[in-house]
């Protein structure tokens, strides 16, 4: 196990390094400069500015500096916010995004498991049909449409929650729902499929024949076995939540990373683009590692060993 972990961590570092490298060189291909007013600046000013941003150095040297900075948590200075270190921009905004992401994930997965299980238990009844149709609709509505609907009907018309902004818990509810419905629907369908599979299997028949009660069957066999493949979906959910956050944070005016990311792309703020990209990658790589470990723990068929051969 220890050996396995060590190996995985090593791979993680390699992944991040490769992503950093790819992003760095791709960013160098992007057109535009950090100066919004370049034509009005004197050559002397531009020269000095380039020196300050380190843009006068050969690309390979910039690359080396960038990678070494990265190792020390220094992601450079934002082009868009003058003198603002990217690490500060990220750290001051990550809280909102993380909270929203975690809440949406919990909301989606927990409710999804519940809805999915109910649908599976009452399969082929109206309960199942309703749950299925609802979860399909949940999956079919883009989250920005849902966000607009929630904002208009729940917040503006009914006045139950704030329209936008970021403050106490009540501000997080609508964005969490808008963000979490996707994972919810997906989880529900996944769990239902998995559980129906399990409930039709021979060992469940056996358990039933042996007189095990329904709750026991569902809890010990059906649910547990259908949760296993669900773990593999957590990675993709994370990606979906990251993408979704760009939309949701924009509509609900939440000071988060996703919103920052879109802005930095629109303003050619390379250091911030690279910083946030690295952050997203790091988060994702970490989640994937965790899910693999969890997968190994709950599914004994997959062994976590250092030597795969």
């Amino acid at each position: 196990m220890k050996k396995y972990l060590l190996k995985r961590l090593l791979y993680m570092a390699l992944t991040l390094f490769l992503v950093a490298t790819i992003t760095f060189f791709l960013m160098k291909l992007m057109p535009g400069t950090p100066y919004s007013n370049q034509e009005k600046m004197t050559p002397q000013q531009i020269k000095i500015m380039n020196q300050q941003y380190g843009l006068d150095k050969p690309i390979w040297l910039q690359y080396v500096i960038y990678i070494f900075g990265m190792l020390h948590g220094d992601m450079g200075t934002s082009f868009q916010f003058s003198n603002q270190p990217v690490s500060y921009l990220i750290s001051s905004r990550i809280g909102a995004s993380a909270q929203l992401g975690v809440q949406a994930m919990i909301f989606g997965v927990v409710l999804g498991i519940l809805v999915g299980s109910i649908a599976a238990i009452y399969r082929n009844t109206w309960v199942d049909t309703t749950a299925t149709v609802l979860s399909i609709i949940g999956k079919s509505v883009p989250n920005f449409v849902l966000a607009v609907l929630l904002q208009y009907y729940i917040a503006l018309k009914l006045g139950w929650f704030p329209i936008a902004d970021w403050g106490g818990f009540e501000y997080t509810i609508l964005p969490t729902i808008a963000l979490g419905v996707g994972p919810l629907a997906e989880t529900a369908r996944f769990i239902r499929t998995g559980m129906v599979d399990v409930l039709n299997s021979d060992y469940i028949e056996l358990a039933r024949a042996k007189g095990m009660n329904k709750t026991g069957i569902i809890y010990h066999h059906a649910l547990r076995n259908s949760l296993i493949p669900l773990v593999t979906l957590i990675g993709p959910y994370t990606v979906a939540l990251m993408t979704g956050s760009m939309v949701i944070e924009n509509i609900f005016s939440i000071p988060g990373i996703g919103e920052q990311y879109v802005k930095s792309i629109q303003t050619n703020d390379y250091p911030t683009i690279m910083g946030v990209t690295m952050l997203f990658c790091f988060g994702l790589v970490l989640i994937i590692l965790l899910t693999d470990i969890i997968y190994g723990i709950i599914d004994p068929r997959i062994r976590l060993t250092g030597n795969e051969d």
Partner: protein, 541 residues
């Protein structure tokens, strides 16, 4: 100056202005505190006035700092820190007597703070993108190019309360410049003390204006301007707080406005069309013009008839009324309307070339066929470059439709809507056939627009060249510089050539539609420069 956003005409100093029409209906909520809730469409990037480049920063600076003057309604010069101004007979030396006032940290605001601030801005090490405005102040250009030391800049402190500025050449708009944030003082101690952090959060900054900035962390989406009790004229400041909130979605902002969470919000085109009859609806016209540049390094666009045909196929009237619908008006020419006047005549009206900016289907068709024949082609694919904002997309959609349905199958327009900065770099690289560009006046003089299309100007992305045009512009700066009427005629002639020859095709002069609660009074909006001045604003329930 290039427009950062369609919604935000951030130009520097100009005269035309609109103020809030104060219609006196009473609103229901009552509170003794004077609080204004204002919508902003983008984050506040910096409070370092030497480094600010955008409207949001300039607005915050204008209200939390004070310079020699403060621009009032219609860009009228109102007293700021300058108690008395003496101008030498040759118009090249200005002496300002400063009033006694304080920074928010309790230190005195002195003439040295101005000298420090100005030197810091023109110092090439600072990398100020607005340092070019110092052009005309003695030695400014040499200092910016590192050819002369900072101390050579034509500004010096005579004692604590006397500031002397020397110019290289007469600047008719000099006083207007002094009301712009780039020329405000900075507290040396604060700059040194906060170092790299100076101006990156509300606490790393000292203020001397009507308000103090608070609750700004440098990256958040809201901040507050609170009344500054150390401000010299605090008795005339009525608002206690101005809460800014960044909403990037117009519909979110409007929903907040509807529930009284915001007192003012800008509108999208579609919202403006729906709300145009509302009593809280206002439009604010900027000193900025949108126009086409044709890439004249390409053979087809060197043909005047082709350029004319393209311009004539666009129904601009329908465009501003039905598509934009936000109060924007058809551009009379490159120079925006109400920017500059001579002998009571507006420049835009004087230089108006009707054919250059009007719709004529039959003429367009005729010219197009002739043009194609002259160039020797029977079909033209046009790559039209523009920004990716909603307004820009509506523009390209409409223009594409107009050109193709007027000129028929022999033309195909492909629109590329790209982010602002990408659009700039593609324009500079000449990577377009037609590009929709925009320009806002740097100062209230036609030259601020007309300089763009001299042969070697870096803004002349289409590389249109006309020697007569160049000569007229040159004359206005040299031989005719002292003669107001002659200079005016030169500039009028130059613009006429530009539009007649279709060096560019002016499209529209932009306006922004807003909803502002009727209880909000006394907000001063200037079409360029630091747009908003809240010093005199108040809430009347």
């Amino acid at each position: 100056m290039k427009l950062k956003k369609f919604a935000a005409a951030g130009a520097v100093v100009a005269v035309s202005a609109l103020t809030l029409a104060a219609c006196g209906s009473k609103s229901s909520d009552s509170s003794s505190k004077q609080v204004l809730n204002w919508d902003e469409s983008a984050e506040l990037p910096t409070m370092d006035l030497s480094k600010a480049t955008d409207v949001v920063s300039f607005n915050a600076l204008n209200n939390s700092m004070e310079g020699l003057y403060r621009l009032g309604k219609d860009s009228k010069i109102e007293p700021g820190l300058a108690k008395k101004t003496t101008v030498s007979n040759d118009g090249l030396t200005y002496t300002f007597d400063l009033r006694k006032s304080q920074w928010s940290n309790g230190q005195k605001v002195t003439a040295k703070d101005f000298v420090y601030s100005w030197q810091r801005t023109v110092d090439p090490k600072t990398g100020s993108q607005y340092a070019y405005l110092f052009d005309g102040i003695k030695n400014a250009n040499d200092v910016m190019n590192g050819k002369k030391p900072l101390s050579a800049l034509g500004v010096k402190a005579v004692g604590d309360y006397k500031l002397q500025v020397t110019l290289d050449k007469k600047l008719p708009y000099f006083k207007l410049l002094m009301g712009f944030a780039v020329f405000f003082p900075q507290n040396e101690k604060a700059v040194k003390q906060y170092g790299d952090k100076y101006g990156t959060a509300s606490k790393y900054m000292v203020y001397n204006g009507p308000f103090k900035l608070t609750k700004w962390t440098g990256s958040n989406l809201s901040w507050t301007l609170a009344k500054n009790n150390k401000y010299w004229d605090k008795k005339n400041v009525k608002l206690d707080t101005i809460n800014y909130k960044v909403n990037k979605s117009n519909s979110t902002a409007y929903n907040l406005y509807k529930t009284n969470k915001l007192d003012a919000t800008p509108l999208s085109s579609e919202q403006a069309k729906q709300l145009k009859n509302d009593k809280e609806f206002i439009t604010r016209r900027g000193a900025s013009t949108f126009y086409f540049q044709y890439n004249q390094t390409k053979k087809a666009f060197q043909n005047k008839k082709i350029r004319q045909a393209l311009s004539m196929s666009i129904n601009r009237e329908q465009f501003v009324k039905k598509v934009l619908g936000d109060g924007s008006t058809v551009a009379k020419g490159l120079v925006s309307s109400d920017l500059a006047k001579n002998n009571g005549k507006d420049f835009a009206a004087d230089a108006y070339v009707k054919d250059g900016v009007s719709h004529n289907k039959t003429e367009a068709k005729k010219l197009w066929q002739e043009g194609l024949k002259e160039v020797g082609i029977d079909h033209l694919d046009i790559n039209m470059l523009s920004d990716d904002s909603d307004k820009a997309k509506a523009s390209t959609d409409f223009i594409q439709s107009q050109i193709e349905s007027t000129l028929g199958d022999s033309v195909r327009v492909n629109a590329s809507n790209v982010p602002f900065k990408t659009r700039l770099s593609r324009s500079e690289a000449g990577n377009f056939d037609m590009v929709i560009s925009a320009w806002g006046a740097d100062f209230a003089d036609p030259i601020s627009f007309l300089d763009l299309f001299t042969s070697n100007n870096s803004q002349n992305d289409g590389e249109w060249k006309n020697s007569e045009y160049d000569k007229l512009i040159q004359a206005s700066k040299t031989t005719d510089a002292g003669n107001t009427d002659k200079r005016w005629d030169d500039l009028v002639k130059a613009e006429k050539i530009l539009v007649q020859e279709q060096g560019i095709a002016p499209l529209y002069q932009q306006a922004t539609a807003w909803m502002v609660k009727s209880k909000v009074k006394g907000v001063i909006y200037n079409s360029s420069g630091s747009n908003y001045n809240f010093k005199d604003a108040y809430i009347k329930e």
